[in-house]
Structure formats: structure tokens, C-alpha cells
């Protein structure tokens, strides 16, 4: 059992993070054409709503929840010190988790019952669905059975994750957690490792920049104003166009 624990809690995280980092950067710099959300709305534009919308809002909230517990554990604990606030946090988190699961199930049903979508479905889609459903289901199971997750995440998991990032993995507390939690950790890192090989890359390129760029974009192949002037030297900044 100890070997398995070490693999799941130490080897897998480092492997997954390395694959994720190298893979994503490689794909972004060398396979940019393949960076896409691979929207299938064009082929099926009605049922997608009942899948994509609950799933994405759910996953965004749940992801941010994990991120907060990871980055500001003390604040979470302080918030949770009052039972009412703890309940609010846990219940909203659970609702968004359910929304994620419902959305996912709708997405799966939609994809495998629409003939047109067969032509844009591959095994990687299946792998992503299976992992996400497993992850969401186990997450909800843990939230329901081992209360209250938001508190013990901040006290047990956050230090463990910190220790991973500090390159001094400390698993003394985590190994004592039930196997469902270890499964949740294992699936999480598997999903992270899978990002560069699947359509999940789309979440890395969320178009935040849209908020502050001007609406219209004009691009010049080269700066003719400077070409015409005899005072400008040869070397100018290369136009960026990718």
C-alpha cells in the first residue's frame, strides 16, 4: 500500500505537472492550430445548452473554490468559523458540483445519441468524459460523506499541495485520508496530465484580453510610414502577427 501511496501522492503529481507544463508549452508554441475549444454547437445547437452551461458554470465555481482553499486557507478557515457561513459555502459548492455532474451527463448523452456528432468524436473525448465524471462524482461523494471538506482541505490538503510545490513532498497527513480522497487526488492529477493532449487546452486560453482591447484591430504587414522615411534605421521591431 505504501508504494501505491507514494506513487499517487508524490510521483504522479510531479509526473502530471511536468507533462502538463512541457506539453502545453510545446503545443502552444508548435501546434497552435490545434488550440481550440472544438465547439460542436454548429452540428447540434439545442441540447448543448443543457450540458455546456451547467457544466461550465459549475466547473468554474468549483475550480475557484479549490483555488481559494489552496491560496488563502486561513481566510477560508476564518470564514468557516461560524456554522452558518460554513453551511452557505458547503451548500453552494455542492450545488455547483451537482450542476457540473448534470451538465456532464447531458453532454455525454448528447454526444453519443446525435449521429452528426459521431464524426467529431474521438477516444480522447471519451477519456475526458470518463475522468471528469469520475472526478465530479467522487468529489460530491467526499463532500457528502466527509464533512466539512472546505475546512479539512485547508488544514490537510493545502499544506500537502504546498509541500509538493516546495519540492519537499510531505504526505504524513494525507496518507491517513480515506481512499476516496486519494482517488480524487489521483484523478485530479491525471486530468492535469491530460490537458495538453485533449481539447481541455481551451481553458488555458480564456480570452480575458478581450476585456481591455479595442474592438477593432488593424494589423500592418510592415510600417510603411517608416519605410518611406530616410531617417529610420534598418532594424525595426518585427511586427507580431501570431
Amino acid at each position: 500500500m505504501n508504494y501505491l501511496d507514494n506513487f499517487i501522492l508524490i510521483a504522479l503529481p510531479y509526473l502530471a505537472l511536468a507533462v502538463f507544463l512541457i506539453g502545453s508549452i510545446y503545443r502552444y508554441t508548435n501546434r497552435k492550430f490545434q488550440f481550440s475549444s472544438l465547439s460542436s454547437e454548429f452540428l447540434e445547437g439545442r441540447r448543448l445548452f443543457y450540458g455546456s452551461v451547467p457544466f461550465h458554470w459549475g466547473v468554474l465555481f468549483v475550480f475557484c473554490g479549490h483555488l481559494l482553499a489552496f491560496s488563502i486557507p486561513k481566510a477560508i478557515l476564518a470564514w468557516n468559523s461560524q456554522p452558518v457561513r460554513l453551511m452557505i459555502l458547503e451548500i453552494t459548492g455542492f450545488i455547483f458540483g451537482i450542476s457540473m455532474l448534470v451538465g456532464l451527463i447531458n453532454l455525454v448523452i448528447r454526444r453519443y445519441t446525435t449521429p452528426r456528432l459521431k464524426s467529431v468524436t474521438n477516444y480522447m473525448d471519451l477519456a475526458v468524459y470518463v475522468l471528469l465524471i469520475l472526478q465530479t462524482f467522487v468529489g460530491l461523494w467526499i463532500a457528502y460523506n466527509f464533512r466539512w471538506g472546505s475546512s479539512w482541505f485547508s488544514t490537510i490538503l493545502t499544506p500537502y499541495l504546498y509541500s509538493i510545490f516546495r519540492l519537499q513532498p510531505d504526505t504524513t497527513a494525507v496518507v491517513l485520508l480515506p481512499w476516496t480522497v486519494k482517488l480524487h487526488i489521483a484523478t485530479a492529477f491525471t486530468i492535469i496530465a491530460l490537458i495538453p493532449f485533449s481539447r481541455l487546452v481551451h481553458m488555458l486560453v480564456y480570452p480575458l484580453n478581450y476585456l481591455w482591447r479595442p474592438y477593432q484591430q488593424v494589423m500592418w504587414n510592415w510600417n510603411r510610414k517608416k519605410v518611406r522615411s530616410s531617417q529610420t534605421p534598418w532594424s525595426l521591431q518585427r511586427p507580431k502577427n501570431t
Binding site: 452540428l43 449521429p115 464524426s119 480570452p207 478581450y210 484591430q217 494589423m219 510592415w222 510600417n223 501570431t242
Partner: protein, 516 residues
């Protein structure tokens, strides 16, 4: 004044014969690929009709283009807030059924079927699923008014017509229609560019061609919604949007775009327009009734000294200014005032202009009582139970303009945001040219009448001859005045050839560093 140059176009609708050669030329070069089969960057529609995709002009359905709210223009169905909130599911995205499901036929069955009593048939198969399908729609399902009850009667431009006027149109479905070839308009205020969250779409500074960078597109699919002309298409296979590129590789080499080069009716003209880029937003934000005028005002006179000076300051090449002076587009749009943008009320400032068609105009339909006539006919003869008279006599000079077969309102809703006087003005000119040329060639029109017509239309005989020459007799070089691309300068800028000359020599881009 911020002078820029735009490669703009004019389509002369009277000359279009609806042969679809343009569409085929484009398809064969650019969109004969998986995921792009359904795309027709160039398509030709029959008007009245619902078009491609079905009812694309109805922005209550598709939410394309800009709308003016509180004095400012906003994207109707996309934009920063809407685009980012609706990114997981775009409620206004047209789906494949709004275009058509692409298909082919199992031709091999014709050859390889075993011998039998029946003729073998080639069954249609979907190019999406590969399975046999019942074809429900095609890119020109309503060509030449086919299936009028389902298509022409649902034309969004009929919305403002009275029931009586519509009745005239329905009467017309037996005899009058025209073709509307469409490509991307390479707009000055493109909604597609503004809607793209990842910033993949851009307008080229040098010639105004609007392009989608395939490396940056992430399939957020907002441009498909935002383009009111539905000229940005989603490739369902690659997960990237694509659109007309105005054959920029051809333009840069001095060739006409494929659709224009191949045009059988020779309806297409391409040339440079100089415009004032600092006024784009202001121009697109005026009241609807002033839109066409303000769009024409933004286009500058390439002979004006000040414009030329400002253009040179902006780095526009002499050859481009020269091309602008000879531009057939400038002549049609500004000098003669004959061409109008399609649906200016979408506020994207399209740079493709149309000479509104005169052909279905020059006759009237009158309601008459045919009963007496019908009674006289032999009982066995086939009788048409219609009480309309198709009248082509032109007794009065402009008589037919007021009671034409095609309600003015219909053409006005296409080309002038509803301004009927503007259409009338173009038609008068077109008609005056015809009457004047008839005087010259046939000679059965009196001089007084021809002069009166010309004066009324506000042109002189010389202009009429020039319009006639560029309409009917233009040579290739007169239809397409393509500015030199000056790629040699661009390459110098991109690759630092000057720097490498004394180092590795031309052609080698990387610096030589020993050992690395």
C-alpha cells in the same frame, strides 16, 4: 485625417446572369475540404428569396451587426459582456441546418451494382455523417424562384411592404427576380473583428482585407453570430472559423480574385478607395437615414491635393494612390453615384457596393379585368386566371419608376436602409444612360427627349458615355485596377535582409553564432 487604402468592389447587378461560376471558382480553390463543404464564401442568391443561410437578413433571428443604443453603436448579439457570458453556449449561433447539410452521391453504385431489372441509382450521402440522407436543402434551393411559397414569400425584406405590394410581388414571382452575388464585404467597421474574443480576426492595414488568423482562433464562434452578412463560417471539423480572404495571395501577385476573374457576366469591379480612418466610428454611428451618405462621405477624393499629401504622409505608396485615381470602384461609387452598399443599416460600413438592378423595373404590372378576353377563348384552351397585365410600354419618361414591377420599397430595404429616393436617383441615371445610348445607336429617341432625361438624372452625355463604356465594354485592366503589393519592402522589414547581408548573406534568416 488618417488616410488608408481599401481594396473595394462593385457588383453591377444588371449584368449578373446567375450562373454561379464565381461560387464554383471560389469553392474549387478554397473550400473543397472536410468541414468546409457547406461554406460558400461566394454565393449567389435569387431575390426575392430567403438566401443562404436561410433568412440571414433577419437580425431578429441572427442578431448580427451593430445597433445604435443611446447614441452609441453596440454589437447586437456579441460584444465584450455578451460574448464572454455566452461563451459556453452561444444562443444566437446559426447551425448547420440553417445553411444545409452538405452531401455527395454514391456514384460508384452506378458502375458497380450487380445486374438487375432496375436502373441503379446514386443515393445521396451526407458529408457530415457519411450516411444516406434525404436532401432537404441545398446552397441554391430557391434558385430562380424555385419553391417560392417556402422561400421568396419569407424574404425578410418584405416585412415593411403592405399586403397589396406583397401581392404584386407574388404576382411577380412568375416573372421578375434578380440575382444577388455575395462575398465578404471587407467592412470598414467589421462586426466579426469586434466580436472575436481571442482577437484572431483583423483588418489588414495595407489593403483592408479582413482575415481570420487560424492559429489564434479558438472556436469561441462569436464572429459567426456577429457578421450580419453571415460571411464568417465555422469549420465543424477543424474547430476554426473561416471566411473569404479576397484571394489575397492573388491580389498581392496582381491577379484578380478568383470569383471576379471567372465572372461570366463580368459584373465585378475591383479597385482602391482611399478613406479617412479617423472617422470610422463616427460614420457608423449616425442616424439610419444618413448612413449611406456618411459612408460615401468617408471615402476621399484621390485627386485632391490634401488627400494625396496626407496619404503620402501615411506611407501609402505612389502606386496605390495612382491605382485609386483609376479605380473603377471610385467611379461607380463616388464619381457617378451609381452603387450602394448592401444593407447599410447593419452599420459595418461594407466595402462591396452594388449597382441596383434596373432590369426587373422597366415594366409595370396593372390590374385589369381579363374576363372578356378569357370568355372569347376556345373552351379547350388553357386559361390563366390572372388579372394582371405586364406592360412594357414607356410612354411617360419616368412613369414606370413609380409603378414598377418591383416595389421601390423592396430594393430600398436592400440597398439604402429604406430610402426610396436614393434608389430612384440611381435608377434614373441608369435609365438615362440607356435612353441616351439608344439615341446614339438606334436613333429612335429624339434629341430633346434624351437631353431632358439626362438633365433630369443630373448627368451629361459625356458621363453617360463613360458609364456605358465601363458598364458594357470594359477590358480586364479597366475592371480590375489592383495596386502593387510591394512585398519586396515587406520582406525587407520582416527578415532584416539588410542586416544579414554583411553577415550570412541574403536568404539565411538566423544569425550565425559559432557553436550554438
Amino acid at each position: 485625417m488618417d488616410v488608408r487604402s481599401q481594396v473595394a468592389m462593385v457588383f453591377h447587378l444588371d449584368k449578373c446572369i446567375g450562373c454561379h461560376t464565381c461560387s464554383i471558382a471560389c469553392k474549387n480553390i478554397w473550400t473543397d475540404r472536410k468541414g468546409a463543404e457547406y461554406m460558400w464564401w461566394n454565393n449567389v442568391e435569387t431575390k426575392p428569396g430567403t438566401g443562404y443561410p436561410s433568412k440571414w437578413e433577419d437580425q431578429d433571428i441572427y442578431k448580427g451587426g451593430w445597433e445604435k443604443r443611446n447614441g452609441k453603436i453596440h454589437l447586437r448579439g456579441a460584444g465584450k459582456r455578451r460574448g464572454l457570458v455566452n461563451i459556453f453556449y452561444n444562443p444566437n449561433l446559426p447551425v448547420i441546418d440553417d445553411y444545409y447539410e452538405p452531401f455527395t452521391y454514391k456514384y460508384l453504385d452506378l458502375i458497380e451494382s450487380p445486374e438487375g431489372d432496375d436502373q441503379p441509382t446514386a443515393r445521396p450521402v451526407s458529408l457530415v455523417t457519411g450516411k444516406p440522407i434525404d436532401i432537404k436543402m441545398g446552397p441554391n434551393w430557391d434558385d430562380d424562384l424555385g419553391g417560392t411559397p417556402d422561400y421568396a414569400r419569407h424574404d425578410p425584406n418584405m416585412k415593411n411592404l403592405s399586403p397589396e405590394e406583397q401581392e404584386v410581388m407574388f404576382q411577380l414571382e412568375k416573372m421578375a427576380f434578380f440575382y444577388l452575388p455575395r462575398i465578404c464585404n471587407h467592412c470598414l467597421n467589421p462586426a466579426c473583428v469586434a466580436s472575436c474574443p481571442s482577437g484572431a480576426i483583423y483588418k489588414r492595414g495595407e489593403d483592408g482585407v479582413v482575415l481570420i488568423n487560424q492559429q489564434v482562433c479558438r472556436a469561441w464562434r462569436m464572429c459567426v453570430t456577429a457578421c450580419p452578412y453571415k460571411k464568417s463560417y465555422y469549420n465543424w471539423y477543424t474547430g476554426k472559423s473561416e471566411k473569404c480572404i479576397l484571394c489575397y495571395p492573388r491580389i498581392e501577385a496582381g491577379l484578380a480574385p478568383a470569383c471576379m476573374h471567372s465572372c461570366v457576366g463580368r459584373i465585378r469591379y475591383l479597385g482602391v478607395l482611399l478613406y479617412d480612418a479617423s472617422k470610422i466610428e463616427q460614420t457608423a454611428s449616425v442616424d439610419e437615414k444618413d448612413l449611406v451618405k456618411s459612408q460615401l462621405d468617408i471615402i476621399l477624393d484621390p485627386f485632391d491635393e490634401n488627400v494625396i499629401r496626407a496619404a503620402k504622409e501615411n506611407g501609402i505608396a505612389d502606386s496605390t494612390i495612382h491605382a485609386a485615381q483609376f479605380s473603377p470602384v471610385y467611379k461607380f461609387v463616388k464619381k457617378w453615384g451609381l452603387a450602394l452598399p448592401l444593407h447599410p443599416e447593419f452599420r459595418t460600413l461594407p466595402m462591396l457596393f452594388y449597382v441596383p438592378p434596373l432590369l426587373p423595373v422597366m415594366a409595370t404590372v396593372k390590374k385589369v379585368d381579363n374576363k372578356e378576353q378569357l370568355d372569347k377563348m376556345h373552351p379547350a384552351a388553357k386559361k390563366w386566371n390572372d388579372n394582371w397585365l405586364y406592360d412594357t410600354s414607356t410612354e411617360e419618361l419616368w412613369g414606370s419608376l413609380d409603378q414598377i414591377r418591383f416595389p421601390l420599397k423592396y430594393i430600398a430595404s436592400l440597398f439604402s436602409a429604406g430610402d426610396e429616393e436614393m434608389i430612384k436617383d440611381k435608377w434614373k441615371k441608369l435609365m438615362a444612360v440607356r435612353i441616351h445610348r439608344r439615341r446614339v445607336t438606334v436613333g429612335d429617341v429624339s434629341n430633346e427627349k434624351a437631353e431632358e432625361v439626362l438633365r433630369d438624372a443630373g448627368i451629361n452625355a459625356e458621363t453617360a458615355d463613360a458609364i456605358y463604356a465601363l458598364t458594357s465594354l470594359p477590358k480586364f485592366e479597366e475592371r480590375f485596377v489592383i495596386p502593387a503589393a510591394h512585398r519586396e519592402q515587406a520582406i525587407e522589414m520582416m527578415d532584416f535582409t539588410g542586416d544579414t547581408k554583411g553577415d550570412t548573406g541574403f536568404g539565411i534568416k538566423s544569425q550565425v553564432k559559432r557553436g550554438i
